[in-house]
Subunit: 300 residues, 2 copies
C-alpha cells in the first residue's frame, strides 16, 4: 500500500498557501494566492487539489489552519466555520463544509496559530518536546499551546496574548488593546511599540530603551505562562522577534520574574534552549496544516 | 475475572489517607493517620494495604497523590521522590520506590493537588468536562490543570497560584509571597487576607470590603487562566472559598476583566455553571489517588 497523500491549506487573511505531500515535510506541490472572496479563494484551492489528484492520485485527507475567529467545537452547528471575523466577506463562512462536500475526505481543522504551533513544534524548534508554547509577536500577540502533541482547545482555545500585565513603573503608556488596554498585546505587540515611541520598531536602533522595556513585558507574560502551562520550551517568532538582542534580555527577566520559584536548569541555566526563535518560520503554517491532515486520516 | 482492587494514598503534610476499592468512588476500606517520620508513616500505610489484601485479595495497583515538591519526570533518577520540601524529615524521600519495592504493583504518582483535581473533576464538580481547572484558595493558592482528562505536567507542573497580578489602585498591600511579593497567592491567599486586614478571613463580616477586593484579585487571576488554558470549567475550593458571597463577585469581575474578549455564554451568561464550588471537597484527594491507581493499572 502506498503512503496516503495529504493536502493542507494555510488559510490566512491576506493569502492562502495550499500544498500536498506524503508527509508534513515532504511537500510535492505547493501554490499560494491572495485571499479574495470566500467562493473564489476556496474554489481556487479546490482546483489546485483536483489538479494534484489527477497527477498524483487520490488525496486521503485535508488539514486547514485558518484565520479566525473559527468555531472548533465539534458539537456545534457551526463547527468548521470562520465566524465573526472583521474580514467582513468571510464572516460565517463554512470553510470545512466547502471542502468536505467537494473532496469527500476527512478534514482536520484548527486555527492558523495552532497549525503553526504544531508545525514549528513537531518539525522545527520544538522537536523533542510534547508540551510547549509557540508565540508570535507581530501586529498582535498570538500563540498556540500544545499539550501532549495536540493543540489545546478546552472551552475555545487559548488567547495568551491578552493576559493582563503590570505596567513598569517608568512606563506611562496606556496600551493599545481595544478590549483591555494594557494587556500583553496592548503593551508589547508591534503597534504598541510604534505608538509608544512614535516610530515602528524596525526603525529604532538596537540599543534603544524600547527593547529593554519590550523584553521586560514579554518576560512578564512568559513568567505567567510558565507558571500556568509549564511548557518544556517556548518558541517566539513574529516581526518583533527579528530583533535578536531582545532574546538575552527576555531570558534574564524571565529568571528575575520567577525568582527561583521554578527551580529547573531550563530556566535557571540553559535558557538558550528554553526560549528559542522558530526554525521553520514561514513554513510552520503549511507544515501544521499537513499535520492536521495526517491526524484527520488516522482518526477516521 | 473480578475487577482489580485499587489502592490509593493521599499523602498530605499533616495526615495520610489510605483507601482501597474497586473504583475511585467505591471505597471498601479507608484509614487516616498523622504524618510523622517517612519510615513510620509509609510503613503504616503499607501495613494497612497488607491487611486489606489478606481480606480482599491482591491489590492490582497503587496511586499516590503527594505533598511536594515532587519529581514527576519519568526520565529522572529521582522520579517518585518528595524532593526539597520544607518538611525537613521528608526531603529526598523516595515514596514511590518504598511502595514499589514492597508491593510489587504498578504505582501512579502525582502531586496532591493534581490528584484532587482529577478526583473532583472527573467524579465531582467537573463531570462532563475534559479540560478544566481546579483551584484551592487556602494557606496558599494551588491548583491542578486537567487537559483531555489528564493532569498537565509539561516541564514540571503548573503553579498557577504564583502568577503576577496588578494591584488594585486602592490597595497598598505589598503581598506575602517570599518569592514574588504580590503574586496571586501573595495578594489573595488566606494569610494575605489576615495580614492585610489584621484578622483572619473567618473573623471578617460577610459585607467587609475584604471580600470585594478578594474577588477582584481572584477574578484577575482567573481571567489570565481563561486566556491561557481555556478551561471548560473552574472549580474553586479551599478555606477562603467558604465565603459564599464571593462567588457572585468573582463571576462579575471575571466578565469585566475579559471585557467581551472571550465571547462564550459560559462566561457572559451562564457563569454559575462555569465557576463552581467543589462537590467532593475532602474526598477529592483520595478519589484522585484511586484514579491514579486505575491509570497505572491500565498502562501496565
Ligand atoms: N525587524 C523588526 N523589528 C521590530 N519590529 C518589527 C520588525 N519587523 C516587523 N516588525 C513589527 O511587527 C509587526 C508585524 O508583524 P509580522 O509578524 O511581520 O506580521 P503579522 O503579525 O501581521 O502577521 C509590525 O508592527 C512591525 O512594526
Ligand atoms: N470560612 C473561612 N473564611 C475565610 N477564610 C477562611 C475560612 N476558613 C479558612 N480560611 C482561611 O483559609 C486558610 C486555610 O485554608 P484551608 O484550605 O483550610 O487549609 P490549607 O490550605 O492549609 O490546606 C487560612 O488562611 C484561613 O484563615
Ligand atoms: Zn487585550
Ligand atoms: Zn508567589
Amino acid at each position: 500500500m502506498s503512503k496516503p497523500l495529504l493536502a493542507g491549506i494555510e488559510a490566512g487573511g491576506t493569502k492562502f498557501v495550499c500544498a500536498v505531500g506524503y508527509s508534513p515535510v515532504e511537500i510535492l506541490r505547493e501554490t499560494r494566492f491572495p485571499t479574495t472572496t470566500p467562493e473564489e479563494t476556496m474554489m481556487r484551492a479546490y482546483e489546485f487539489f483536483s489538479g494534484c489528484e489527477k497527477d498524483l492520485g487520490p488525496i486521503a485527507s485535508l488539514g486547514i489552519g485558518s484565520f479566525g475567529p473559527v468555531d472548533l467545537d465539534l458539537s456545534s452547528d457551526t463547527f468548521g466555520n470562520i465566524t465573526s471575523t472583521p474580514k467582513i466577506l468571510w464572516a460565517d463562512t463554512d470553510i470545512v463544509g466547502f471542502f468536505t462536500n467537494r473532496m469527500n475526505v476527512p478534514v482536520g481543522f484548527d486555527t492558523d496559530t495552532n497549525a503553526a504551533a504544531l508545525g514549528e513544534g513537531l518539525y522545527g524548534a520544538g522537536r523533542g518536546c510534547d508540551t510547549f508554547l509557540y508565540l508570535t509577536i507581530g501586529t498582535g500577540i498570538g500563540g498556540g499551546v500544545v499539550v501532549d502533541n495536540k493543540a489545546l482547545h478546552g472551552l475555545v482555545h487559548p488567547e495568551v496574548g491578552h493576559i493582563r500585565v503590570a505596567p513598569r513603573r517608568d512606563d506611562p503608556f496606556p496600551g493599545t488593546c481595544p478590549f483591555h488596554g494594557s494587556c500583553l498585546e496592548g503593551m508589547a505587540a508591534g503597534p504598541a511599540i510604534e505608538a509608544r515611541w512614535g516610530r515602528p520598531g524596525i526603525e529604532l536602533p538596537e540599543d534603544h530603551p524600547a527593547w529593554d522595556l519590550e523584553a521586560w513585558y514579554l518576560a512578564q507574560g512568559l513568567a505567567s505562562m510558565v507558571l500556568m502551562l509549564s511548557p518544556q520550551r517556548i518558541i517566539m517568532g513574529g516581526g518583533v522577534m527579528h530583533q535578536p538582542q531582545i532574546f538575552p534580555a527576555i531570558r534574564r527577566y524571565l529568571k528575575e520574574f520567577l525568582n527561583g520559584y521554578v527551580d529547573r536548569p531550563e530556566i535557571t541555566e540553559e535558557q538558550e534552549e528554553y526560549i528559542v526563535f522558530p526554525e521553520r518560520e514561514n513554513r510552520a503554517g503549511i507544515t501544521g496544516a499537513l499535520l492536521l491532515a495526517e491526524d484527520a486520516a488516522s482518526v477516521q
